[in-house]
Symmetry: C2
Subunit: 399 residues, 2 copies
């Protein structure tokens, strides 16, 4: 049967990284992917800068300064942050200077205010300072021309601040991929409505939509469709006008109500695969309709969730140019036993911390939602083993 | 001098966890804090449920079924997900059943379709099934009355899905705290504008605003003020009408342009503290004006960033009722040397992975933004030591 990695590769082959860009105010660009280069147009700082409040002087003038034998310098001016001192500091002179101000020409160090008598016209210096002590060099953060933010950078707080320091506002970013979510199933009732006998509330659509929001790309559409192939085909036709990816849940197995096979036929969509060597969620189905990728997940809540992590996230990572979408894989030591054999690669709900991992307690049925609450990873149990026991090293996929 | 923990405690004492609530559609509530209980109004599943497509039967009827010697049962009806079979399954009978459908009364197991001849009126069963095999018990996920989502729960994907399964939509959540950000400094130019001599671009306001967005509570106001005490006091007066917390940068040291001391006086605000035993950012200042908390950070970019993590995040965690705002502290083994003594507790930019931590390369000046790009933690170096060396266990604060 198709392996997970083959299925992911196949899906990734179908998508092109987003090319459309948009201009955004820098303050609205958090979490977005940069579509231009962020290159330094000047040194940072753009001038030698004072790191503190005090007096800009020539270090050699203070060489002999001591508390008991202060050196007296002539204060020839003052410079605050944002100003430029027009003259030059000569031998025996000092300029009163504030944090962040450009160090005047001629001066090569700054005496801390606390190491002086804070004099206005003349100042007594109580402590010597060597040249280039208390001195921020021009360009010490970065030099003019440096490529600081390459195209494709994810803009978090640090990158936004750096872009600001470059003067970059507004900023060109890639558009977000358009993702639609559709749940299927005649048994599904919408939360907030009355529950009739035989029905349950729809949770898959909510899980998928909330998870997309949580990861930074809210769904552009989130809806439900009954088990009517024509109705579902029409829904996909409509959503495919806008969506790069449509994620559906339910209807992918072998029963009479497993409508997705018929939907693919009605649409004449190109099927990529059906069934992958994974438990839960083996009957995952993928197809292409027009330019839109359809990823049809099992209707079992944990199967849908696990398969979203395994199959959908890497594809959105590719499409959005954002590697943080690809779940991190990490080895960890199993801290409790899970003794249940399986023919397929099996994924369990887990909790991991410090290279240790616990199989989450509670019901492991793929219909169970409550067991997911404490999860922060999936645990992979290799096939054809009688489960796994405490001490085994296992692969975890971080959620 | 005041210790970091004392300062944080003092700030947290000043704020009350948000009490105002709002009703939101469940699909818009991702990342929010639940202000009501999410209690199960019914068992989940609400009825014994079929986990697969096949035939609902009495297990004892299939006890002798084998491929070579199939058992023949009378098919008395069909039940799909969302329907209820009105009758009862008697000895020698079977009901065609689809995944998710309620198991009819009388039946105690489901035969997989693949283990039958898929008969319509009569069905040949090729494999036996014990009672309650292939059977999802009513309430196996959770029982009626169970408190699944206590008040104060953070709603991520899993919690949203669980709330959906409870039928909860719309949902009551706490309002987000209102946070304002104001940078000060005559030297600051807004990104996108021309840079004049002696000036630099404002980055602190961008860092703080982007970081607040990243963590889920975007600033309600983000602005700049010149080094004019009256102007800044007026800005705080205005913003305090709305904001629970105002974060400012710059003007907290001892220089002439360190206007925040005068601003506190003009406002007759109640000062909580000034100066904390921390490097960078020692001159952090805190005050209360009306019901608004003012946290005034140093204007040095790394100092502002580190102090936001150390002082502001725990306060917003308290205010927003969201513990994920409190930075996680973790011990890690230092992988490179940092030989620079300091009198105060010093925080460095670091990168941590698998209980190891590296001091980020590059310029460690508190003005440097570029060194922050690779950071995912702060490293704490205890005071009165000649730095730290490879192999030392140090505390890290995860960003």
């Amino acid at each position: 049967m198709l392996q997970i990695e083959e299925a992911v590769h196949c899906l990734q082959q179908q998508v092109q990284p987003i090319r459309k860009t948009q201009s955004l105010p820098l303050l609205s660009a958090t979490g977005r992917i940069l579509a231009q280069e962020g290159r330094a147009m000047m040194d940072q700082p753009p001038f030698p800068r004072s790191p503190l409040d005090g007096y800009a002087v020539r270090g050699q003038d203070t060489a002999k300064a001591k508390k008991e034998a202060p050196v007296c310098l002539q204060v020839v001016g003052k410079v605050c942050a944002g100003e430029v001192f027009p003259g030059q500091v000569k031998a025996g002179e000092a300029v009163r200077i504030m944090t962040g101000a450009p160090i005047p020409q001629g001066a090569d160090t700054v005496i801390r205010q606390e190491d002086s008598d804070s004099g206005q016209e003349q100042v007594m210096i109580y402590k010597s300072s060597k040249p280039y002590e208390n001195y921020c060099y021009q360009g010490e953060d970065y030099k003019k021309g440096t490529l600081l933010l390459p195209k494709g950078t994810r803009l978090r707080g640090n990158e936004i601040a750096l872009a600001a320091s470059l003067g970059l506002d507004p900023v060109m970013v890639y558009q977000k991929p358009q993702i639609a979510v559709v749940s299927t199933g005649d048994e599904l009732t919408m939360p907030g409505e009355d529950l009739k006998p035989g029905k349950i509330y729809d949770s898959n659509r909510y899980w998928l939509s909330a998870r997309l929001s949580e990861l930074g790309i809210p769904a552009v559409y989130s809806g439900h469709c009954n088990d009517e192939p024509e109705e579902m085909a029409e829904c996909i036709r409509k959503r495919s006008q806008q969506a790069d990816v449509i994620i559906t849940t339910g209807g992918v197995s072998v029963g009479e109500k497993d409508i997705m096979h018929e939907v693919i036929q009605i649409l004449s969509a190109r099927q990529l695969f059906w069934r992958v060597d994974v438990k839960p969620g083996a009957p995952v189905l993928a197809a292409v309709f027009g330019g839109t990728l359809l990823i049809c997940l099992s209707g079992n809540p944990f199967a849908a969730a696990a398969n979203f992590e395994l199959f959908v996230r890497p594809v959105i990572g590719c499409l959005s140019r954002d590697e943080s979408w690809i779940p991190k894989k990490k080895q960890a030591r199993l801290e409790n036993d899970y003794r249940k054999p399986a023919g397929a690669r099996r994924f369990l709900r887990g909790y991991t911390e410090d290279e240790k991992v616990w199989v989450a307690a509670g019901n492991h049925g793929s219909g169970s939602l409550s067991a997911m609450l404490v999860c922060n990873c999936l645990i992979e149990i290799p096939p054809h083993q009688a489960g796994a026991v405490k001490g085994d090293m296992v692969w975890t996929y971080l959620l």
